[in-house]
């Protein structure tokens, strides 16, 4: 390497030209806080996994993305119940049995 550098003393020039650059003070703080945040996040995740399942379920219920299925289920169930009530009402309006036979006979006699 030294022969190649020759009279120029290129190695000395390179050492002077490419001196280490000190990072700005706030970079150190920035990186450290990011790393701390990641470490805390990871620790929190680990501890939450270790918690009871019900805690996780409650957390899931608080997430609006998980509300679609229950809402859809309530809507479908509501519609089915409504249809049943309607059928029952129609059924009640229509006379049946002895009363129906008597009524029909009376109508025919008239």
């Amino acid at each position: 390497m030294s022969e190649a550098a020759g009279d120029l003393n290129l190695e000395r020039l390179l050492t002077d030209a490419l001196r280490p650059v000190d990072p700005p003070a706030d970079l150190s703080t920035r990186v450290e806080s990011t790393l701390s945040a990641i470490a805390e996040q990871a620790a929190a995740q680990l501890s939450s996994w270790a918690d009871e399942l019900s805690e996780g379920e409650l957390e899931a219920l608080r997430d609006p993305r998980n509300w679609v299925r229950p809402v859809a289920a309530v809507a479908v169930g509501g519609a089915a119940a409504g249809a049943l009530v309607l059928v029952e009402m129609r059924r009640r309006r229509r006379p049946s049995g002895f009363r129906e036979t008597t009524g029909r006979l009376l109508r025919e006699l008239r």
Binding site: L10, L13, D16, R19, V21, L27, L35
Partner: protein, 188 residues
């Protein structure tokens, strides 16, 4: 003990299984010991402080994610080449993503000030500026090797590990880089 080991003693307890807290402490030590190296490398690769800061931060975040494995696989060897390799890959991505030269390339890098006598400072700074300009004309791998060698003071073996080359190939790379730089300087 090899040249590399003398410069960078093995990471303490690197091979032993450790707790998360111990791992975090070890990473903190690594970070404090090599922040300046990673930043210097990033600065000379991207040519400006803003992007160098981002690149340094990304490098340490990546390093943190893979630290446990790297430590296990290093067999006690220094982790600086691994860190610089991460920074090297990020810098390559940086240039590829932009598909152009750095916003302020290495030519725009101002030579650092020196504690010399006044007349020597003026004369010396011109010389240094020329070195930096010529350095930018070298192929990327040669320029990188010189940055690692002179800005970071890395040994040939460390540079070889950071660049994923053999020790012999790295020695040749550095030799050729200096020879080419000398030619550029003298045939101006």
């Amino acid at each position: 003990m090899s040249e590399e080991d003398e410069r960078n003693p093995p990471e303490a307890g690197a091979a032993a299984p450790v707790s998360k807290a111990e791992l975090d402490r070890a990473f903190e030590d690594l970070y404090r010991a090599h922040l300046r190296d990673v930043y210097s490398y990033a600065y000379y690769r991207v040519g400006n402080h803003h992007d160098a800061e981002d690149l340094t931060e990304q490098a340490f975040l990546q390093a943190y994610r893979h630290f446990e494995r790297a430590r296990r696989e290093s067999n006690g060897r220094p982790l600086r080449p691994w860190l610089i390799r991460i920074a090297h890959n990020l810098a390559s991505n940086y240039h590829r993503d932009r598909a152009r030269k750095p916003t302020a390339n290495i030519e725009a890098v101002e030579p650092p000030s020196h504690p010399h006598a006044t007349e020597r400072v003026v004369e010396g700074r011109e010389e240094l500026r020329e070195v930096i300009e010529r350095l930018d004309e070298l192929p990327e791998d040669r320029r990188e090797a010189l940055i690692m060698r002179f800005a970071l003071g890395m040994s040939n073996r460390e540079i070889a590990r950071a660049l994923g080359r053999t020790d012999g190939a790295t020695k040749v790379l550095i030799h050729r880089a200096i020879k080419q730089l000398e030619e550029l300087m003298t045939h101006e």
